[in-house]
Symmetry: C2
């Protein structure tokens, strides 16, 4: 088998740095593809493709505005990611100290050998 599809999966969609940049940019408001490409220093087709992925996972919405198509943020899909990582909150404080303790114990044990 091969790799998981980036489409239809928010975790994969935001694994791409450029796509994260796009999302951040869109926090400032809707923008047409060209402007996204320009502001982030990517090609128009490049931006278009990334926006397609973001649209497919539902992180972005489009609406036609005359000749243009305005892309806007729909951040609701990021919530599950936030919550998933939040499930580890207690572990990046308290619990890790224990692990650190283990490591120190090990170092000592090695020195005593």
């Amino acid at each position: 088998m091969a790799r998981a599809a980036t489409t239809s999966d928010v975790f994969n969609a935001i694994a791409e740095p450029q796509r994260r940049q796009i999302l951040v940019l869109l926090r400032a408001g809707e923008r047409p593809v060209t402007e996204v490409a320009q502001e982030l220093g990517m090609t128009q087709p490049g931006a278009s493709k990334h926006l397609r992925v973001l649209r497919e996972v539902g992180l972005v919405r489009v609406r036609g505005a005359g000749k243009q198509r305005l892309y806007g943020l729909d951040a609701r899909g990021l919530r599950p990611v936030h919550e998933w990582t939040g499930g580890f909150e207690q572990f990046w404080n308290e619990s890790f100290d224990r692990l650190d303790a283990y490591v120190q114990e090990l170092k000592q044990a090695q020195q005593e050998e």
Copy 2:
């Protein structure tokens, strides 16, 4: 160019469902590879590979315990992800209502045509 490396990037590391499962499992405590594989229904080499990636991005630590190697969680690397998504918190509430409003306006506009 090709795809970004999953190694040395937490966002990519957690884009893999099985790796997320491993992290969740390890919240319950340290475990040897074999046990991880068994509890999650994957092969030993499979688990080993995923754990390698997680180790390389620093989400997991190993310590030798006799014949075994115990893998333990180091969730600190998840914090940036939590914070990054947290930067969109206001957008998955308030701000999206505006976008919804737009959509409704558009639907109306279309009906009036």
